[in-house]
Symmetry: C2
Subunit: 81 residues, 2 copies
């Protein structure tokens, strides 16, 4: 059995998100209204050979701290799926 983890990395609230602002502007130009705000982040799906979900989740959190997220300006969430 193998495990799959999904990591979602978003800019922290208050950190300027130019990509999100650009998407919001572009949606407005296309005629989409009723949008109060847009934030863009990234999602990273990992296929793992591990078999222990708890240990795998802890390992993925270490990956986030070491590489996947810049914890100064980004927050991350790990889900085992």
């Amino acid at each position: 059995m193998s495990l799959k983890a999904r990591v979602t990395v978003m800019l922290k609230d208050g950190v300027l998100d130019p990509q999100g602002a650009a998407i919001r502007h572009a949606l407005g130009s296309l005629g989409f209204g009723g949008i109060d705000g847009v934030r863009q982040g990234k999602v990273i799906e990992l296929d793992l050979t591990a078999t222990d979900p708890a240990a795998a989740e802890a390992e993925v959190k270490r990956m986030c701290e070491a590489l996947l997220a810049n914890t100064v300006i980004e927050r991350y969430r790990v889900e085992m799926i």
Copy 2:
């Protein structure tokens, strides 16, 4: 009441994902093992003024088709959160 939608956009299976491959390589360089595959995508969170979740979800799907995803090479998923 306002609604929030989360759109996840991933490259379709079979489409080369150089960002995911780079992450996998970098994790290996940092000593993380047991990784079978990595795929990177993007997540877009929308704050909407709409009040009808079903109508809002349909509108967000139109946004995906028009702008947020390139449906030739990407698949998207919409969640109301």
